[in-house]
Amino acid sequence: MNETIRLTLTLTIICILSAVALSFVYENMNPIIEENKAIRLKAALKEVIPLADNFEEAKEISNPEGIIYIFKGLKDNRIIGYAILSEALGYGGDIKILTGINKDREITGIKIMEHLETPGLGARIEEEEFLDQFIGKPEKIDAITGATISSTAVIDTVEELISSINIEFN
């Protein structure tokens, strides 16, 4: 009995010490991690709505299926664009696409935020050559040879987004 108590006590003490140490680490590291996330998000938003100087999440718009979040791009406190994060079903999983739209329903910027596509093939959806086609009011966008599924997933999702998104500018 004595031995069991000693065994349990040792393990428990080590667990408690670890838990305390880790919670301390967490308290100090987590704010930095959250801040980094915010910085990266702001940089991405600026990339897709270059003329904006401030961003606010548009929580009041109800998100239809496939849309993760919508941010308002503001300049001098007026809405000049919206940045929408939508999900496309790619070859290897979900592709998260951030699209910037201005009041003329033109695309001001597009960025692939996350994907699980094959390196060298589907991953080419990140290439400038492909993404530059989306800027403005594109008539027809060419898919990438050898990455048909990945690129058409992006094309279809963005087309759907432009035609169906319900956003206001005033």
């Binding site: 667990c15 670890s18 838990a19 880790l22 919670s23 680490v25 967490y26 070859y91 290897g92 094959t118």
Partner: protein, 193 residues
């Protein structure tokens, strides 16, 4: 239901734990020389995966998330897995000594099998609910067993082949695993709707 089937097929074939995610490589190389031992290890791993997958899911969702303790995930998960393996070993030794003999020395080795911890973490990363985690665990274990059995079948034949000395045992096994990984990558074109 079709969602669960997709999860199973993805775990077992498309995102096979050995050939796609590189999990469980050490036991994969160590125990794949004979089909019989491959089956035993595969069965043991699947068994532990299901039980630990469910247990860690419960701990994640009802303990860690509820009390805001994300930083305790790794120690909590690995402790649970180590304890479970210990308990399973004691239980089998006592009540099902035939199964215990089949699993043999493989059971205690499973604690450090990265596939077990990997499975527990993936359930959390992929945000599966309880049923989905359960199915995912079975799929992952099945895929692992499949990889092991295929490898063992090949390596049994390899015993009587003239392999050059520097390549014997591990190097040739790795090269074969590479070819199998190539074959399995064909599954990625399996799509459902």
């Amino acid at each position: 239901m079709s969602n669960l089937i997709t999860i199973f097929i993805a775990a077992a074939f498309i995102n096979n734990f050995v050939f796609y995610r590189f999990l469980g490589i050490c036991p994969f190389l160590g125990v794949s020389r004979h089909i019989k031992s491959a089956l035993s290890m595969g069965a043991a791993v699947t068994f532990v995966m299901v039980i630990s997958g469910v247990s860690t899911w419960l701990i994640q969702n009802h303990l860690l998330d509820r009390f805001g303790l994300p930083f305790l995930q790794y120690p909590a998960f690995i402790l649970v897995i180590a304890s479970l393996v210990q308990l399973i070993e004691m239980y089998l030794k006592r009540y099902h000594s035939d199964i215990y003999k089949t699993f043999g020395i493989y059971l205690p080795l499973i604690t450090t099998n990265c596939a077990i911890l990997g499975l527990a973490l993936l359930n959390s990363i992929l945000k599966y609910n309880f049923t989905e985690s359960f199915v995912y665990s079975i799929g992952a274990g099945s895929g692992f067993t499949l990889a092991l059995i295929i490898m063992a079948g090949i390596r049994e034949k390899l015993e009587i082949a003239p392999v050059p000395k520097p390549f014997r045992n591990i190097p040739i096994a790795l090269i074969i695993a590479g070819l199998l990984a190539l074959a399995f990558s064909g599954f990625t074109s399996l799509r459902f709707g």
